[in-house]
């Protein structure tokens, strides 16, 4: 992970995320909303923008948009649609029906795993465009001979989520997208697959002297097809802008295209002037004013979201490791972990198992009580960590209860005296190493522990061995 580029400068980032909704049909017509079908097979007069066609809003798309608003703590408001006018071949009507100054959701926020809150300016509805492929010239826009257009995607419902410019590092940008993805997935409104285009990210990047409260000129970066690209592009762009400013030049406000191969952004200044979208209210549609009842129903349908799950888990597990918490949530193991803790297991041990020894698929049938029993066997000294891991593996594969499995495997607590004689033997057999240990070389402890494991076929408790050796070394 790369660090902030320069401590004299601060980067300011806002993200625009387009989320394709997983409705059955498109936003304004009954054509299927499906990925990967034969080109132009999911089209009709409406989504092709044929003369005389008219849009009718998909109720489920509105519901999903409201869910997104609620999940992002936005205010859900009466809204209207606007036409955004511009010419491009993937646009059947050469205007996009979107929302402008009266969006359905406004003024929300989301919380990153480390607790940072990022403001959400708005989350509005709009229709997706078709897909253009450039043919000839290596598939790059500027060298292409011609283009082919598929309108299957035209009219698919999108929600565009715009963050406040609150993000201050590429790492946080990635965290933001991860968190947003997790939320959208939890509320079941989208497949959120960046690789399929159901989640698309554009980034606005500007820089300013550290400590300044004024905003610098920003550039919009497009063509970010993965989180990796997002992070690299932001870092590149911030460096590029800083360099310009340091050289006494200005940052030009423009849209730039990220080139993954070259690892740089390119200006996309085309021969057309800056777009004048000539927004005006869509006359073919009427306002959407969700009733209080509908809003209540949507609110009630929101499941527990990642941030809440993290908070609950962290509280119960008593762990401050946000990384561990994130992994547990990510794997969908938090309910299991919390239940095991409730059944009396040591929280730290449970979390450790979840992070290192469990994956969601295998843990599906693991009963929290059994996990709790296993952990108790560890904490009361009956099993070492290594032994517990083996028992757990057995439990996952064949089921069964920890105590019986431990017995079958011949695991039992190793006698303290027996362990002491093993340690004494090792000290006697390895005088040189012991001398090093005595003189403060901590690294050689690993050698002794390893030897103890060998000598006891893994039955030794590494911590006890370490403790005994330390005692020996200091006496």
């Amino acid at each position: 992970m790369t660090t902030v580029v320069d401590t004299d400068w601060e980067m300011v980032i806002g993200l625009e995320v387009h989320c394709e909704l997983s409705t059955q049909t498109k936003l304004f017509c009954g054509c299927r909303n499906a990925f990967g079908d034969e080109p132009n097979t999911n089209v009709c007069p409406v989504c092709l923008g044929l003369p005389g066609s008219l849009p009718v809003v998909n109720e489920r798309a509105v519901e999903y948009a409201m869910r997104i608003g609620e999940a992002l703590h936005c205010t859900v408001e009466p809204s209207i649609f606007h036409r955004k006018n511009y010419f491009y071949p993937d646009m059947p009507k050469d205007y996009q029906v979107s929302q402008y100054d009266m969006p359905i959701n406004a003024r929300g926020w989301l919380e990153l795993p480390d607790g940072t809150r990022i403001g959400i300016t708005r989350a509005h509805m709009e229709e997706d465009t078709g897909k253009t492929s450039h043919v000839g010239g290596g598939g790059r826009i500027h060298d292409a001979g011609y283009a082919l257009v598929d309108y299957n995607r035209a009219g698919v419902p999108l929600v565009e989520i715009v963050s406040d410019p609150d993000i201050r590092s590429a790492a946080h940008a990635k965290d933001y997208v991860d968190e947003l993805r997790a939320i959208l997935s939890a509320i079941e409104v989208s497949d959120v697959k960046m690789e399929e285009g159901s989640l698309r990210v554009d980034s606005n990047v500007s820089v300013r002297p550290a400590g300044s409260s004024e905003f610098g000129t920003r550039c919009e970066i497009k063509n970010l097809n993965s989180l990796r690209s997002l992070v690299h592009a932001i870092e590149y762009e911030a460096r590029r802008q800083i360099q310009l400013l340091q050289d006494g030049e200005q940052v030009v406000q423009e849209t730039r295209h990220w080139n993954e191969e070259e690892g740089r952004t390119h200006s996309m200044r085309s021969k057309e002037e800056a777009f004048d979208y000539r927004y005006f209210p869509e006359p073919d549609l009427v306002p959407v004013e969700p009733s209080a009842e509908w809003l209540d129903r949507v609110r009630a349908s929101i499941p527990v979201l990642p941030a809440e799950r993290r908070a609950a888990l962290a509280a119960e597990a008593g762990t401050s490791s946000t990384a561990d918490v994130a992994v547990v949530i990510d794997r969908g193991l938090d309910r299991l972990v919390r239940a095991a803790i409730t059944a009396g297991a040591d929280p730290e041990r449970v979390v450790t198992h979840a992070v290192h020894n469990l994956a969601h698929e295998t843990a599906a049938n693991l009963e929290p009580e059994k996990l709790a029993s296993l952990v108790k066997l560890e904490t009361d000294g009956t099993l070492t960590a290594t032994q517990a891991k083996k028992v757990l593996a057995e439990m996952l594969e064949h089921g069964g209860d920890p105590a019986s499995i431990a017995a079958e495997l011949g695991f039992e607590a190793m006698d303290q005296d027996a362990l002491m004689s093993v340690v004494d033997q090792l000290v006697a057999d390895n005088p040189a190493e012991f001398d090093r240990l005595k003189s403060g070389d901590q690294k050689v402890m690993g050698f002794f522990v390893g030897q103890a494991m060998k000598a006891t076929q893994g039955k030794a408790d590494g911590r006890v061995v370490t403790a005994l050796l330390r005692e020996r070394a200091s006496s």
């Binding site: 044929l50 005389g52 009718v56 009507k93 283009a147 021969k271 057309e272 000539r278």
Partner: protein
């Protein structure tokens, strides 16, 4: 014969639909060469549809309330597999893959589609002279315009080619040609008739409506096509109101407002006809007094900002990519600009320019924004007028039919033709033009009855009374 009588006779097996349609087709073949009411005559389809109606009758089925009635549709309504050109080069060879809702409703009622009629290109105009395929002539005097933009449909009915036709009215494009051609023309309340399949000009103003030789016929046509359509989000969520039954109810006690803004500026002979109409209603028991919709005088300015603005957006899709004319270019932008330059006529280009300007950055508020505020003023003034009156009365067109070429020099002169009709479109209210005598030149004059939103039953009732007063 009224439409109802025709349909009854066909349903009873007394007349064959095929015979009727063949009569229409013969007349058209004989006389439309000179008139050019039609862009396309659907000869084979019409005969097939008529034969189907006859088959159903023979089988004992009821083909519907318009059984065997020949209908013409303005060529901006989508007819599957049949050219829908909007009288524009850019759609000259386009066949829609779907039918407009109005078509389905008419077909379900047993009507027989005879052909697509000429219009001002994309419905932009008041004379049908802006058609890319040549103007339509007024059947009363072929040196004169039939009005526009639905000139072809008005002429088709006036010439007796078909007893029923449909047009679209955005600023007067049904009513004004109806007046100039001496037929009945109706603009329903905005949202009464589905716009699904009507090629959009100005989405918040467009409405489809009927032309017919009589108020009764127009009323029947209205009943058949009006009513909620789930494919049109701006469609009134009610079924069609009953208007035919109450036509004979008369105007006793109805308060009619002779509206000064819908008379001022009209030629003297037109004004005279309107005043006669007012007196006729009075004689029939209506209470006629003066009315005013003061903000209506701003209607023209507001309309010529709102309509072109919406049109500039609605016509952006004609870009040579998916259908219609394409003029190739080195890159897509060249292709767009060359295609649209070649495909659109001057009036269309003018309005696209005007509309684009009115919406553009820095000008939106002063032009489009201001026009939408004026729209509110007009609605409020209509509301005030309707507090004191049930219906309003005025002229439809300031003049009788003018000569072909007389107003093409200066676009603004042409725009003034719509000064009495535009306010209803801005307010979304219904209005009807009823033939009422002639001007000094012997050409038809139309008188306009206006009603509040959704008040078609009252409007048709008064129109019927006016019509009766002439006989």
């Amino acid at each position: 014969m009224t439409l109802a009588e025709t349909a009854r006779a066909v349903r009873a097996g007394e007349r064959s639909a095929r015979e009727i349609v063949d009569e229409h087709l013969a007349l058209i073949a004989d006389r439309d060469g000179a008139l050019h009411a039609f862009n396309h005559v659907m000869t084979d389809d019409a005969r097939a549809a008529a034969d189907e109606v006859d088959r159903r009758v023979a089988a004992g089925d009821d083909p519907g309330s318009l059984a065997g009635v020949g209908v013409a549709l303005k060529d901006n309504m989508c007819t599957r597999g049949v050219p829908t050109t909007c009288s524009s080069r850019i759609l000259e060879h386009w066949h829609p893959p779907y039918d407009a809702t109005i078509l389905s409703r008419l077909a379900a009622a047993g009507a027989v589609m005879v052909g697509k009629t000429n219009l001002d290109e994309f419905a932009m105009g008041s004379s049908t002279e802006n058609s890319a395929f040549g103007p339509t002539c007024n059947p009363h005097d072929p040196t004169r315009v039939p009005g526009g933009s639905s000139g072809g449909s008005a002429a088709a009915v006036a010439a007796g080619f078909v007893p029923a036709a449909f047009g679209s009215d955005t600023g007067g494009s049904i009513r004004q040609p109806a007046a100039l051609c001496g037929v009945v023309g109706v603009k329903p309340t905005y949202g009464r008739v589905s716009r699904y399949g009507l090629v959009a000009f100005a989405s918040s103003l467009d409405q489809i409506g009927p032309f017919a030789a009589s108020v009764e016929d127009a009323a029947l046509l209205f009943e058949v096509v009006a009513g909620h359509d789930p494919l049109d989000s701006t469609s009134v969520p009610e079924p069609a109101p009953s208007v035919v039954d109450g036509l004979g109810d008369g105007v006793e006690g109805l308060r009619v407002g002779l509206t000064k803004e819908f008379v001022e500026g009209a030629d003297a002979d037109v004004v005279a006809r309107v005043e006669e109409a007012a007196r006729a209603l009075e004689k029939a028991g209506a209470i006629v007094s003066e009315a005013s919709v003061p903000a209506a005088v701003y209607g023209l300015s507001a309309y010529y900002l709102i309509a072109p603005a919406e049109a500039s957006s609605n016509l952006a899709r004609y870009d040579g990519v998916r259908y219609g004319l394409r003029v190739d270019g080195d890159d897509i932008t060249d292709m767009y600009t060359a295609t649209r330059a070649a495909g659109f006529g001057a009036e269309v280009k003018r309005r696209i320019m005007l509309g684009t300007y009115a919406l553009s950055a820095g000008y939106y508020d002063a032009y489009y924004g201001q026009a939408q505020r004026v729209r509110t003023l007009i609605i409020r003034d209509f509301e005030a007028a309707y507090a004191d009156h049930d219906l309003l009365l005025g002229a439809t067109s300031p003049t009788t039919a003018f000569e072909i070429g007389a107003k093409t020099e200066n676009p603004l002169t042409m725009y003034l033709s719509d000064v009495f009709t535009i306010p209803s479109n801005l307010a979304g209210h219904p209005a009807i033009s009823v033939p009422y005598g002639t001007g000094d030149d012997g050409l038809p004059v139309g008188v306009q009855v206006l009603a509040p939103a959704l008040a078609e039953p009252l409007m048709f009732r008064a129109a019927a009374a006016l019509e009766r007063s002439l006989s």
